[in-house]
């Protein structure tokens, strides 16, 4: 499987992250989106007339749209990530994949504007992103009340992976996450998953690694 990829793209990171979590190796082809505009070059447009990345190719299959690629990877290698096989759960996952597009178009566009000088009505984008973040916060707080840590049940699914990147990187676009405690806890749960990989702008959870060497507090306690 070949992934046409850009290290700074949250949409591409959706795919890289799921692949890492399910143990699927991808052949990454770096696309010079910025500053080279390579996604709009003739060869890339021939592959995907929409001029977007990520694009996944697999033995003749060409897939665009990161949420579709997530669906393919999960179905191919790790169907539990599609969510419980009931009509309600499958629909819930689909709902969040659609919601993820609103995050791309609002928080993602705000980040591209603030960081990479992309054009856009930044106030409108931030307003739309804030609305989406509030909806996500309400849903995650309801999930917590049900004893669930993720968007579609109590295990992570592609719904979480689709929404996570643009939310985690929202501050890059001038959207602080301070007002959303349930989002913060959900992000921690995702970042603590086995096999999790970061992307630039998302720090490693250093707390998961023990402090190197004996901690002085521990030594003092042992001496007491």
């Amino acid at each position: 499987m070949i992934l046409y990829d850009y290290i700074l793209s949250p949409s591409c990171y959706r795919v890289r992250l799921l692949a890492a979590l399910i143990g699927r190796r991808l052949d990454l082809r770096a696309v010079d989106l910025h500053p080279g505009q390579e996604h709009l070059s003739e060869p890339m447009l021939a592959l995907n007339p929409a001029g977007t990345i990520p694009v996944l190719t697999d033995d003749g299959l060409v897939l665009t749209e990161s949420t579709a690629i997530l669906t393919y990877l999960a179905a191919h290698d790790a169907p539990a990530w599609l969510g419980e096989d009931t009509p309600a759960m499958r629909a819930r996952v689909a709902q969040w994949l659609a919601f993820a597009q609103r995050l791309t178009d609002s928080a993602g566009a705000a980040r591209a504007h603030d960081m990479l000088l992309a054009p856009g009505d930044i106030d409108a984008l931030r307003g739309q992103a804030t609305q989406a973040l509030r909806e996500l916060e309400a849903a995650l707080s309801a999930a917590r009340r049900r004893g669930e840590s993720f968007l579609a049940g109590n295990r992570p699914t592609i719904a979480d992976i689709a929404c996570f990147p643009h939310v985690a990187l929202a501050p890059d676009g001038g959207l602080p996450l301070d007002p959303y405690p349930s989002i913060r806890l959900w992000m921690r749960a995702i970042r603590a998953l086995d096999g999790f990989i970061e992307m630039p702008g998302i720090h490693r959870l250093h707390e998961l690694k023990p402090e190197p060497g004996p901690m002085p507090e521990v030594i003092r306690k042992e001496q007491a």
Binding site: R134, E137, A138, S141, A142, R145, R146, D178, P179, P181, S182, R184, L185, R188, H203, L205, H206, E207, P210, E211, G213, M215, P216, E217, V218
Partner: protein
């Protein structure tokens, strides 16, 4: 009119002049819900003009410090908690009890000078709420029997407007919302915003809590629409 009598003791009575996000209240200020800051985690908070790093150690001890590492000013609320220590994400400087720097990874053998310490705020937990103050007031923060922590939200409206919308004034408002007897705690934030920390009746069923959540969101929408029109 909010009923502030029975469940609320003296220290939470608001001062005659309304608090804004720029002045520091002398009473306890609600800052977060306990469940929102689990063991070994840190979160950002505010107290008047101060940015706070509110964090919980591995043993469950809550602390509220200035959100600024004395090294190069990085926000400590972005840091990581290992054991009883909060470390800065930038260079890994570790701070222990009382805000004292206990470790500088670039100089592992060095005992950090005592001068390197983070300013510490007073903090107390009661009834599932984390309260902060510059200096501990004489009385502990209020307890609220019969209610448990529900949700924290931010509202783009002045604290007084939020209080009025809930039918009361000041920091602690008991009212009925979405059919439930709730306790609403109001925290002044900067830039004309307010934090709302809600406590709902213990043992509420899930449907009732979902209805309450929807009601709070509706109240926020109305308030913010009204603020926009007067802006």
């Amino acid at each position: 009119m909010g009923m502030m009598g029975a469940a609320c003791s003296d220290p939470c009575a608001s001062a005659p002049t309304p608090d804004t996000g720029d002045t520091v209240p002398t009473d306890w200020t609600p800052a977060a819900l306990s469940d929102d800051i689990p063991v070994a985690s840190a979160a950002p908070g505010q107290l008047g003009p101060h940015d706070l790093a509110i964090w919980r150690s591995a043993s469950g001890r809550i602390a509220a410090w200035a959100d600024r590492c004395p090294h190069r000013g990085m926000r400590l609320s972005h840091g990581f908690v290992r054991g009883e220590r909060l470390s800065c994400i930038y260079h890994g400087w570790g701070y222990g009890e009382g805000g004292q720097c206990v470790r500088i990874p670039a100089h592992p053998e060095l005992t950090p000078p005592e001068a390197i310490r983070v300013p510490v705020f007073s903090v107390a937990e009661a009834s599932g709420v984390i309260w902060v103050a510059e200096e501990a007031p004489d009385s502990p923060p209020p307890e609220f029997p019969g209610v448990v922590a529900f949700r924290s939200l931010q509202v783009s409206a002045a604290p007084e407007a939020l209080a009025a919308a809930l039918g009361g004034t000041g920091t602690v408002i008991e009212t009925v919302l979405g059919g439930a007897q709730v306790v609403a705690l109001i925290q002044p934030l900067r830039d004309g915003a307010a934090g709302l920390h809600l406590l709902a009746p213990e043992g509420s069923d899930p449907a009732a809590l979902d209805a309450l959540s929807a009601e709070v969101e509706a109240l926020r929408r109305r308030l913010e629409a009204a603020e926009e029109m007067t802006a």
